[in-house]
């Protein structure tokens, strides 16, 4: 079980080369910076709360581990100034069977959205604005309770 919060990019292949060896099933998700709905995204600034981020991610990971039969898990989340198409974050889960790996990965993603202390600001050709949380993010968490 590993959690990393970093400014630097990560290498998906390198991260996964020996992840979940012998587990049977590995699921990965990678989040990329997508363009603004109206286009023109120049940069996405990701701010976080350093003293809280790793404990929050570790707590989310522990919940997933208590709920599914996981052999391993990995969460990497970046902060700082990113460009369209850049990798923002990834989760990987390893389990004996794919059901546990898929569900745990979805659970981790849902919790990362609204329970990990990150905030995104979009800088576009027309100006800048903070990305607002969506009601659907909370609904996504409710389905796990």
């Amino acid at each position: 079980m590993v959690v990393r919060v970093q400014a630097a990019d990560f290498d998906l292949a390198a991260e996964l080369s020996d992840f979940g060896l012998g587990a049977g099933a590995v699921v990965t998700f990678t989040g990329l910076v997508r363009d603004h709905d109206q286009g023109g995204l120049r940069e996405m600034l990701i701010e976080h709360y350093p003293a809280m981020t790793e404990p929050a991610l570790t707590a989310i990971e522990a919940r997933a581990k208590s709920r599914w039969n996981l052999a391993d898990s990995l969460i990497i989340h970046r902060f700082g100034a990113l460009k369209p198409g850049d990798r923002i974050m990834m989760v990987a889960t390893a389990a004996r069977h794919r059901g546990d790996a898929f569900q745990a990965a979805e659970f981790l993603m849902d919790y990362l959205k609204s329970r990990a202390p990150f905030w995104k600001k979009e800088i576009t050709d027309k100006g800048e604005s903070w990305v607002a949380a969506k009601d659907s993010d909370e609904a996504a968490i409710d389905r796990w309770s």
Partner: protein, 82 residues
Amino acid sequence: MIDILYFAWLRERIGLPRESLATEAATVAELIAELSMREERYRLAFSDLAAVRVAVDQTMVEFDAPLKGAREVAFFPPMTGG
């Protein structure tokens, strides 16, 4: 003394990322009231508490949470990770 941290648009509206304050506030709500009395920029930042979340010593709490023994209070909008 208590450290108060602000993130995202709260940091921008208040104009600083953190400050230390000697306060008698017994709860988060009392602290918000005290800050809001100080200056307009605080009052504006805290004018819609439905858009504000708070953590005491890195744990999310409700606005009625006590501050006794707290070292760090952080105010921020709903998180947008992932």
